[in-house]
């Protein structure tokens, strides 16, 4: 009789694999599986009866209760088989998807760290070229600042965290260069609490957000605008606030949120799990507030 079990479960497995049942959620899957067990039991019983009748025609007279009992036995076998089959696949799939997600995160993290907007670099170089005639001293300074940023973005690949001070210096160099480019259309304002320097933060994180604020905010305004960076310590956490002129999600839907923001959230989650936080919102009708809260130690 074992041959029936094996061939029926094999058939069932083929159907499951072909129809992609393994992707289904439990509530949808359960009634189907129960029905399948019932069906398999019926098939099996039928086959057994036919088989028995073939060998011994008198078996047709076997009492009904014996038959029912045999049926129960058979269904128990199928039930057990199904449970083992689905549980095994469920675990296998979930470990696979976890490994996959980890690999993707790692990849994205590396990708993000090296990301320095080429648009910015070439525009900066272009304004520096004009500056060489106009103000040679300032142009030399700008070249140094651009080198600092490039150097930082190259080294930072290797580091998970850097001191707040280092990051702030990169941001300052970056904003100096944007000032060369946007001139009176950009106002920059810092309000940094001295204790911030004791903190470590992920490299290029403030930089990316400041760059975003300029790209989507200030640079879109004909008359220009301002960007401000403010930090304070709150309950052993570092609170970094970036305010820029403009409107967040100006007429866009949430699904169009840029890669910069998505990656920042992901990076914070990967490094600090739920100990850090990120938010971005319109503070009022012409200012966007981006805030990151970073814990003292990991």
């Amino acid at each position: 009789m074992c041959i029936f079990n094996i061939s029926i479960t094999h058939l069932f497995r083929n159907i499951v694999v072909k129809s992609g049942l393994l992707e289904w959620k439990w509530p949808k899957l359960l009634p189907f599986v129960l029905f399948a067990i019932f069906l398999m039991t019926m098939c099996n019983s039928l086959l057994v009866s036919v088989f028995e009748y073939y060998w011994d025609p008198s078996s047709i007279n076997t009492e009904l209760d014996r038959k029912l009992f045999a049926g129960l036995e058979i269904s128990a076998v199928y039930f057990l088989w199904t449970i083992i089959y689905f549980v095994f696949h469920y675990f296998e799939r979930s470990t696979k998807s976890l490994q996959y997600e980890a690999a993707i995160s790692e990849f994205e993290l590396n990708n993000l760290k090296t990301q320095l907007n080429p648009h910015f670099i070439f525009n900066a170089l272009n304004s520096i070229r004009a500056l060489v005639d106009e103000d040679p001293k300032k142009s030399k300074q700008a070249i140094t600042q651009l080198s600092n940023i490039l150097r930082n973005s190259l080294i930072l690949d290797k580091k998970k965290l850097i001191s707040f001070e280092e990051e702030l210096n990169t941001v300052k160099d970056y904003l100096e260069l944007e000032l060369v480019r946007y001139e009176e259309r950009l106002n920059v304002d810092y309000d940094i609490s001295p204790e911030s320097m004791d903190f470590n933060i992920p490299p290029m994180m403030i930089q990316t957000l400041v760059e975003n604020g300029i790209k989507h905010g200030v640079s879109q305004l004909t008359k220009g605008g301002s960007i401000g960076i403010k930090t304070h310590i709150n309950n052993h956490t570092l609170v970094i606030q970036i305010r820029n002129s403009g409107q967040y999600l100006n007429g866009k839907s949430k699904s169009q949120v840029g890669l910069g923001i998505k990656n920042t959230i992901k990076r914070l989650d990967l490094i600090y799990s739920d100990q850090a936080s990120f938010s971005i919102e319109n503070e009022n009708s012409d200012t966007v507030l981006t805030q990151i809260v970073i814990p003292e130690t990991i």
């Binding site: 080429p118 648009h119 070439f122 525009n123 170089l125 272009n126 304004s127 070229r129 004009a130 500056l131 005639d133 106009e134 060369v180 480019r181 946007y182 001139e183 640079s219 879109q220 305004l221 004909t222």
Partner: protein, 240 residues
């Protein structure tokens, strides 16, 4: 050649001005810092050439081109958008990457000037109708074209849009056929019916049709019915 420089950054404009200093043929008639200012300066100064930045506050360079009925010659200047420019299928334009390479600039301007000589200033001072030699900017989704009107065989109205037929493409522009009809030069373009304007240069065969109308087949294969009212005018124009 009357030229307008459009860029939101003062230093970028200054740099371009100093580069163009060595080309006396290029006469800078003005500068604009955004698309709206550029639009009004193009109307008033009527430049033959514009240097156009793509990324500008509020409106991009592409949006500026979409606002214009006929685009002057355009040289895009951009820091890192060459992929955006490569979206152009129909290359009646050139682009320069900032910081601008002087050799590349020389090449671009020489090409432009030699083309200009050949064109002989034939209809320089005709009243401002769009002639077959004008180019229009057409954008459909991600693809952009500069189309010479001579290459457009048919305009077909479709709701609030007009389908522009040229080569194998028929992108849509947001305009009314009546407004377009007023601007087009009626020596080359003919209003065949309520829905169609055809380019007379592309007419292949003409057959008599019902009710005294005509059926015109264009060289692209499209068949357009000319209404009875227009048929008489059409015969007039097509005969010597």
């Amino acid at each position: 050649m009357k030229t307008l420089i459009i860029d939101d950054e003062r230093l970028a404009r200054k740099e371009l001005l100093s580069l163009l200093d060595s080309y006396p043929e290029i006469e800078i008639v003005g500068e604009a810092v955004n698309a709206d200012e550029a639009f009004s300066k193009i109307q008033s100064l009527k430049p033959e050439l514009i240097f156009l930045d793509i990324q500008m506050p509020e409106k991009t360079g592409f949006e500026l081109l979409e606002m214009l009925d006929a685009a002057p010659k355009v040289i895009f200047t951009t820091a890192y958008d060459e992929f955006a420019i490569k979206a152009f299928e129909y290359n009646a334009l050139d682009y320069l990457l900032k910081p601008i390479n002087t050799d590349r600039l020389a090449e671009t301007i020489n090409k432009l000037l030699s083309k200009d000589d050949k064109k002989e200033k034939e209809e320089e001072k005709t009243p401002r109708k769009l002639s077959a030699n004008d180019q229009v900017f057409v954008k459909d989704g991600d693809r952009c074209w500069f189309v010479k009107l001579a290459d457009v065989r048919l305009f077909e109205s479709d709701g609030n849009y007009i389908k522009v037929y040229f080569e194998k493409n028929k992108p849509m522009i947001h305009k009314s056929l009546n407004a377009l009809d007023e601007k087009l030069d009626d020596r080359s373009f003919f209003r065949a019916s309520r829905k169609h304007i055809i380019n007379l240069g592309w007419v292949d065969t003409i057959e008599p049709w019902f009710n005294g109308g005509l059926m015109v087949q264009l060289k692209g294969g499209e068949k357009i019915e000319v209404s009875r009212r227009q048929a008489a005018r059409f015969k007039d124009m097509m005969s010597l």
